[in-house]
Amino acid sequence: MNRKRWALPSLLVGLGLCAGCFTPPLSGPLLAGPAASTATGPTRDQLPVRPSIGLLFERYRAPVQTNVKDVTLGSKTGTAAVFHIRDPFLTGLPLVTLGNQDRDMATVAAARQGNISQIDLVEVERFSVLGVYIRETIIVHGE
């Protein structure tokens, strides 16, 4: 009885989390601008480089820009973070989002935070627990 009671919820949670990672980005012609980043919530789908996923737990850094020819890393670093509380089961959409949702704006905010006038390199740090709480931090290197 106990086994039956837990089987279905466990299966739904597992499939829900798996489905969450396959949710396609709602961007481009469907949604544009800030609405796009809000709808996709965790902006992983929009990143050019996405290391292997972790459904239960993620903590990694990855590049945002891939054109890095002759880039000299500056001595200063600035950060700007976005927080999401996401519904991974039914809609896959973020319920709560706090911070700079537009990545370009977040880059500028990070540069300001680090007192950087010339940006050399932009990276992102992603921290996610169960795909429900997600923190994405833009890291800017420059002078």
Partner: protein, 111 residues
């Protein structure tokens, strides 16, 4: 406790059958192998007039069962590891074993 174990087992089955550990994204993605992959590909696709430097730096992140992902696959970490101050080119390496374990490595070339 048994419920948590069962939940984790189902989650692991789901992630193995969908090969979650093998899911990643990059500008250039060679055809992946469902059971086994190990390859390198360019991350910086603008290679015109590029002079590869004399130094190489690496940094990587790992994923287990597609459930837990951890690491520092950033260009700045790779440059720091290789003692590189000026970056010339960036590639990446990807390894995937049965969708159970995968490693994503950034490779930075420079001086």
């Amino acid at each position: 406790m048994r419920a948590i174990t069962r939940y984790l087992a189902i989650l692991a089955c789901c992630s193995v059958t969908t090969a979650c550990a093998g899911i990643y994204g990059a500008p250039v993605v060679p055809p992946p192998g469902f059971l086994f992959s190990r390859f390198a590909a360019p991350l910086d696709i603008d290679a015109q007039d590029t002079k590869p430097g004399s130094k190489v730096g690496r940094s990587s992140s790992q994923s287990i069962l597609g459930l837990v992902a951890e690491g520092d696959a950033s260009i700045s970490a790779a440059a720091k590891q290789g003692g590189i101050s000026t970056i010339r080119h960036v590639d990446y390496e990807f390894e995937n074993y049965l969708g159970v374990f995968s490693r994503f490595t950034i490779v930075v070339y420079g001086d």
